[in-house]
Subunit: 351 residues, 2 copies
Amino acid sequence: MAATLKDIAREVGVSVTTVSRALAGYNDVAANTKERIQETAVRLGYSPNITARRLQKQRTDTLGFIMPTFGPRFSDPFFSEFIAGIGNQAAAHKYDLLVSTHAPDSEGERQAYLQAAKRGWVDGLIVVRTREDDARIQLLCQHDFPFVAFGRTSNECAFPYVDEDSAAGMRLLVQHFVDLGHERIGLIAPPSGLMFGHYRLQSFYNTMAENNLPVQPDWIVTGDMTQRGGAEAVAALLALDPLPTAIIGGNDLMAIGAINQIQQHGLRVGQDIAVGGFDDIPLSAYMTPPLTTIHQPIYEIGQQTCAMLIDVINGRSPQDPHTLLTPTLIIRESSGTATIQMEGGERIQSN
Amino acid sequence: MAATLKDIAREVGVSVTTVSRALAGYNDVAANTKERIQETAVRLGYSPNITARRLQKQRTDTLGFIMPTFGPRFSDPFFSEFIAGIGNQAAAHKYDLLVSTHAPDSEGERQAYLQAAKRGWVDGLIVVRTREDDARIQLLCQHDFPFVAFGRTSNECAFPYVDEDSAAGMRLLVQHFVDLGHERIGLIAPPSGLMFGHYRLQSFYNTMAENNLPVQPDWIVTGDMTQRGGAEAVAALLALDPLPTAIIGGNDLMAIGAINQIQQHGLRVGQDIAVGGFDDIPLSAYMTPPLTTIHQPIYEIGQQTCAMLIDVINGRSPQDPHTLLTPTLIIRESSGTATIQMEGGERIQSN
DNA sequence: TTGAAAGCGCTAACAC
DNA sequence: GTGTTAGCGCTTTCAA
């Protein structure tokens, strides 16, 4: 069907090699020959067979991304934006992006990573939603397979990552509420096991402690990162007496679920209960009231992660394999104040 | 690095051919030999080189999906869910999914499709957000390349698709508002050129006409499918006198943006102005008030589209290459009534 | 039951 | 400048 080098060679009356070189732009081909070859290539609608080239070059020029999905009705806007980020960056470097989906910590996921770590599927992997003890990362380290993570872990092996400084973000948020006079602050924590959840939770405790504020155990509930999970989890908080005066969602989706429930209870968000989120998904600005949150530049994080991975694959160890992004506090009405923006999002590098 | 058939062959002392057959499960290999081969394969951590296999088999076992992205801050939840749907279905059939992103109708997009249509990149493509005159589809038809679209077009060529019946959905929505007594209904239409936007707009006009209700030209505004776009577009509607009593968003994101603006204007959604959306993204249930909308089973649509594509690739023409899904009206408080659900989502097939 | 040989389409080292 | 040869790792006739 599709034209091959051989077809062109036959047509022009030269060898396959010559055609290959002519088309690759080598200049050890007679101008005349080259021209005839190029012309014929166009005429025949030639397009190189990528698979053959890959086999020869021993690389796939493909990046892998295995999405941790949590079920069919899965639509975390994080992933759309993140994929756009890595996808565009990959394309800019002539890499393809292979995407697959697996439930976190499932056997299928393990197999997928194992499979990927063998040569020939992709040249490198992007890992997201890192876990405290992350089997994926351990496996990849073990096989010495190129990857970059969005997020850190508590595993021992050293690996390149991009991460947002969750601790700093949570500190900004808690301090913001404390400064507004709040003392009873509830938290809908991300599921245990997620590394960023760990940082956010710890930072919550720490910042409260720094302000000499006690934390009641029942001010902390856990949600599954979805709006539904946030709505369900906040119920426990709303049953408390006295009520918390502020509630922080471990991510925006849960904060949105919480806002919904708070309002269903006839309470006013921003007046009766202040609410904060985490992520600054585009929708957060369009809630009523708009959601105070921590901004994360997901698209850029995707780009950076991808760029770093490409460096790793090509043996250019990135100048700094550990990038930590400082988040920004976006104050909106859900915290009970006017809309202003504090502190520009600076990029800090540490090793 | 990674073990190859040759390595195993050398180790066991047989030919590559035998190893290949043993591992492929052929039973013309001596049980004893087979066993030794398998054992060695495991010991060496053998994993077939997919690229080589592809070159030999002349197929990539890979599906392509080119996301039409509209800019960096791009996070339409539709895509997360859709990718999860096609991804899982693809995996179930042992297909990989290659994802790339391009601005709709850009030169880059054209190139990407052109590239894909040549043999060797992917075995087939999934096309979404079909356009009235869709250059992608025309190109694919022309090259006779396997693909399935989510959505129809007005182009002439016949091709397999899955689509939701937008017209039916819009009819349900408009009729719902009309039945509630609304006569001045505003619409935030999707950008012109999108096929589903066309259906939704036409159906809006038709349903109004069927009810003998006039449509003022300035009741129709256009938004870019984002919450921001919805918020901006609704401004024109809110400047009208008399005000529309109901506003329909061309998708949920725009409806959410509209709700936000309406509330900013001090109007109550569900009481002063009824609002409806389209898509039933998970967030829509957690708005305040929860959003009346048309449910689309995005995940399932992704699955079906993908399954159909795999059929096409394998020359099994699907029983019915044109699937039309009947949408469901989800009534929530934004339309000013209690929450109930009308009419189960039935699946209708037509040719 | 096993192996030799060919070939998928391409690139690259090495002649000529 | 151009062609010959070899080989990437695998599958698949066809003989033995």
